[in-house]
């Protein structure tokens, strides 16, 4: 048996190997490592907390139920991001919500629904003025990201928010490396244009 008590120090490949042997601790470790980045990516794509949680859950269920079919020559992170991104893109295509409002989904009719579907910014650790300022800046940035095409949005989030390398983004999004670079370049240009007033 290759169970190790120190799962947090293990590589993704090792944790997956233990998971394929049925170890619950290994499943929990994969969830611990990836729930934040996967949820953040999906949430920024669909802009609805409830829906993002459902899609994140679907992503993990799909990945963990197929863990024995995972091929170690690929990065685990690429695999899970690919499934997460596909889930988000499929949803956006189905609902035609390519451009979403930061103040909530367009179909949100009640105040509760508007609140539930709006991105919650600021963690409350700053002073009221700083928080207000940070919220305002964060809102502008999130709004600018929300205006990007979904493909650009995934690329730029994975590169600059999650800090993933180009080859991993290309693998995760099933795109040629050159296309990923182009998308990121265009996304940056669009963001710069939209966010130019913030620099002043």
């Amino acid at each position: 048996m290759h169970y190790s008590p120190d799962l947090s120090a293990a590589t993704d490949q090792q944790v997956v190997e233990w998971a394929t042997d049925g170890a619950e601790a290994a499943y929990r470790e994969l969830l611990r490592r990836y729930q934040r980045p996967v949820f953040s990516l999906i949430y920024r794509m669909v802009r609805d907390r409830e829906l993002a949680e459902d899609l994140t859950q679907e992503t993990f269920v799909k990945v963990l139920n197929a863990i024995d079919r995972y091929r170690p020559e690929y990065k685990f992170s690429s695999w899970i991001f690919k499934i997460a991104n596909n889930a988000a893109i499929d949803h956006l295509r189905r609902k035609e919500l390519d451009t979403l409002s930061l103040e909530g989904r367009p179909d949100a009719t009640t105040p509760d629904r508007v609140e539930a579907t709006a991105l919650q910014l600021g963690d409350g650790s700053e002073s009221p003025l700083e928080e207000l300022e940070a919220r305002e800046i964060g809102t502008q940035i999130e709004r600018a990201i929300g205006r990007l095409r979904p493909e650009y949005r995934s690329c730029i989030i994975m590169r600059h928010v999650e800090g993933r390398p180009y080859d991993e983004i290309a693998e995760a999004l099933d795109l040629p490396l050159g296309t990923v670079k182009t998308y990121i370049h265009r996304a940056r240009a669009e963001l710069k244009e939209t966010l130019a007033p913030l620099k002043e």
Partner: protein
């Protein structure tokens, strides 16, 4: 600055302005209990050794080889029975005489020897205890009482742990 290909630069080196803005964005977390909700819908595979056994068994069933193995086992267990029956049938008179001797002489002699051995041990222990302690009977009673108490404690502990385990299982099932 060193001229490196784009893919080798960090996101911050590629576009510091954009990176500075995007890296300030908060990270989102799903609601509490998310991992439990996911795990409730995940089927965990059996341990590797069990899957191997299942795999071999499935292969045997699929190829029909399982019947060959079951047949070989059945035949293998029949051979000693047939051999023993044949042996008994060929030597009925000798076996009958041996069984008669066993009932009339062998078993009574063996029983007498075993009971003599046991009573010998008991009397030796009793003599030794009497020699060592003036009131051996009281000490033996105390030892027996202590053993009974110990057994009761163990039983009580076992019952408590079983009840706790049953409560845990029912909570898990409900969850």
């Amino acid at each position: 600055m060193e001229d490196r290909p784009m893919s080798e630069l960090t996101p911050a080196q590629e576009d510091p302005a954009i990176h500075r803005m995007l890296s300030t964005l908060p990270a989102w977390m799903p609601g509490p209990g998310f991992d439990n909700r996911v795990l409730a819908r995940v089927w965990r595979p059996h341990p590797l050794w069990l899957r191997r056994v299942e795999g071999y068994w499935g292969e045997l069933v699929e190829t029909g080889q399982v019947w060959l193995i079951v047949g070989a086992f059945a035949l293998g267990s029949l051979i000693p029975i047939i051999a023993l029956t044949a042996l008994v049938a060929a030597h009925t008179a000798e076996i009958g005489a041996f069984l008669g001797w066993l009932v009339t002489v062998g078993i009574p002699v063996a029983w007498a020897a075993v009971s003599a051995f046991i009573s010998d041990i008991v009397s030796t222990v009793n003599t030794m205890a009497s020699a060592l302690l003036p009131n051996a009977r009281a000490v033996m009673l105390a030892v027996v009482a202590y053993l009974v108490l110990l057994a009761s404690c163990a039983w009580g502990l076992y019952r408590t742990m079983s009840a706790a385990s049953a409560t845990r299982s029912s909570l898990h099932d409900r969850h």
